[in-house]
Symmetry: C2
Amino acid sequence: MKAKVYVTLKKGVLDPQGKAIHHSAELMGFTQLADIRQGKYFEISFNDSVGEAEAREAAESISRDVLANPVIEDFSVEIEG
Amino acid sequence: MKAKVYVTLKKGVLDPQGKAIHHSAELMGFTQLADIRQGKYFEISFNDSVGEAEAREAAESISRDVLANPVIEDFSVEIEG
């Protein structure tokens, strides 16, 4: 069982790293971009004995406590077999 | 048109940050984890005039040149309407 966790900055939170990437891309000639936002991505592999419900619960708990800062970031969890 | 880009370390490349997260999660009582790998996630928003094919091509080109280090990282691109 594997969980994919996406952590993104909440709307309205400034993203200077994303702005820098946007600027670099524009200098390279990509002028059709409206915006680039940077986030984080994690792959959590569980032991074989772990079922889907337990994996989702553990992944959400880890995301809330370790991977994301809930004040400025949102996260979403996807479970894969 | 929006592109989601996932950048992950290639298999076999050491991921000390992922190892540190794994260790922290274990100390918090999550002992059912086999592995955690950290990656990066980007959301690229395109201007309204950009079609799907152009968005995919631009996103892959930006990923290759700016977002990922092709020596140690893989990337994948998803396009959303």
